[in-house]
């Protein structure tokens, strides 16, 4: 099966933003989830960066970037009014302590049980864990964002992950280029399909039963 793209990453980010209640604390993972910020109205939510920032603002204007004000993806950012900075131990205590309402994480595989794998490919170089395991196991709600199939056309929504896990049974929603899916334990429930995506097409692209 070839790569599918019914929703662009921008469409996915726009859809993901709708999952964020006003006045919540949100951590946007490195990569695709970072784009979700583009679709949040100003003042809607407080963005947490695990390197020690609450109130992460937009990327700075040219010439105004500070190398010592970065997000967890090591991109220069700004801080909004009301923002705060803190050390790494405090930042992860916030995460582990359940004070972050929702995390959006990129993923390599998500299973029907809500397991997530996003840090290592079997047989590949170990790139490290970073904050992924803390975020996945500590945040109150975990939403995965990923392409529905990998670059080789293999399933990423699967019955059981065969990549090393980041955390077990934590993902409550998966947003892909084909739609929005909820792990049910048995398979995935279709919450929404992107325009032009049939139930049959989504099922063929999924390694577990769609309900």
């Amino acid at each position: 099966m070839t790569q599918l793209a019914y929703w662009s990453t921008e469409d996915m980010a726009r859809r993901a933003a709708r999952e964020i209640p006003e006045g919540s604390i949100v951590n946007l993972g490195i990569g695709m989830p970072t784009q979700v910020a583009d679709f949040l109205p100003e003042g809607h939510a407080w963005l947490h960066s695990e390197n020690g920032l609450l109130g992460t603002g937009p990327f700075p204007a040219e010439g105004e970037a500070d190398p010592n004000l970065i997000n967890a993806g090591k991109q220069a950012v700004t801080v909004v009014k009301g923002g705060s900075t803190f050390d790494s131990a405090t930042s992860f205590a916030m995460i582990r302590g359940g004070h972050v309402d929702v995390a959006f994480l990129g993923a390599m595989q998500v299973s029907a049980r809500g397991d997530i794998a996003n840090w290592a490919v079997p047989g590949g170089k170990v790139m490290g864990i970073g904050g992924a395991m803390d975020l996945a196991s500590g945040c109150r709600r975990v939403i995965a964002m990923m392409q529905h199939l990998n670059k080789s056309g293999e399933h990423k929504l699967v019955q059981v992950c065969d990549y090393p896990l980041t955390a077990a049974g934590v993902v409550t929603l998966v947003i892909t280029d084909l739609g929005v899916f909820e792990p049910t334990g048995e398979g995935f429930r279709i919450v929404e399909l992107a325009p032009g995506v049939s139930r049959e097409l989504a099922q063929a692209a999924t390694g577990a039963r769609l309900g």
């Binding site: 583009d38 695990e50 390197n51 220069a76 196991s137």
Partner: protein, 237 residues
């Protein structure tokens, strides 16, 4: 008799790093290239110590920062949370000349917080059901599973601060704070590289980020490279 906190200001990097010896565990502040004690890191290479265990979130990047320690062959073991595409680590891991321990970032921070706070070990939910659990005690508390992780002590911490007073009360700048304060608490000897050195009293007591009891040697370095790991503004919105 004088205590450890009588006089801490030293004039040179070489003097600051004089207590270092081979085989030490050195905690190095920074998140990637942000908040690095740049002059102290260079100074360790000139100091000529080796067989170091280096504890740092990222182990350098792009052949810069701690990548230079790896290239100089003075590191025996790295404890970090994220390597990324850093070939200074990957090539040495593959050749079997470097021992690498990868730990979740929050666990890395908490292990050093625990060390500084007199907690020998703690149970954490992070990593349960993953490879991180391997070889560790797992305990069920209140129906949930937790992993026992141990405190991580350093012989020396290399710390970057924005401002220090004469006693070594520190303030940090924005996200350059990261692992710096917790590393200072976890080491027997905390060496501080500060951008600004001020008189005692110049920092209001309510504005001190790290109390001077945790710091031991202070060297004032006004100029820093403060490198960007990624070109800023590329995807500005």
């Amino acid at each position: 008799m004088t205590g450890r906190h009588r006089s801490k200001i030293v004039a040179t990097i070489a003097e600051a790093l004089a207590p270092l010896t081979d085989g030490m565990t050195i905690l190095v502040g920074g998140f990637g290239l942000s908040g690095n004690p740049e002059a102290l890191m260079r100074g360790v290479m000139e100091r000529g110590v080796r067989d170091l265990t280096m504890v740092s979130n990222n182990a350098g990047a792009l052949g810069r920062g701690l990548g230079l320690w790896l290239r100089a062959g003075i590191v025996r073991k790295v404890i970090c949370s994220y390597i990324g595409p850093n070939d200074d680590v990957h090539s040495r891991m593959a050749a079997g000349t470097l021992d690498v321990e990868v730990t979740p970032q929050g666990t890395l921070a908490e292990r050093m917080r625990a060390a500084g706070a007199g907690i020998p070990a703690f149970y954490t939910p992070t990593g349960v059901g993953t490879l991180v659990e391997r070889g560790k005690e797992v305990k069920e508390i209140g129906g949930k599973r937790y992993i026992l992780e141990h405190a991580l002590h350093g012989d020396v911490a290399l710390v970057r601060a924005h401002t220090s007073d004469q006693f070594g009360n520190l303030r940090f700048w924005r996200t350059a704070r990261n692992f710096n304060p917790v590393m200072a608490t976890a080491a027997k000897l905390a060496i501080v590289e500060c951008d600004n050195l001020v008189a005692n009293g110049a920092i209001d007591p309510d504005d001190v980020h790290l109390a001077g009891m945790y710091t031991h040697r202070i060297v004032h370095i006004a100029e820093h490279e403060n490198a960007f790991e990624f070109t800023p503004g590329r995807s500005a919105r």
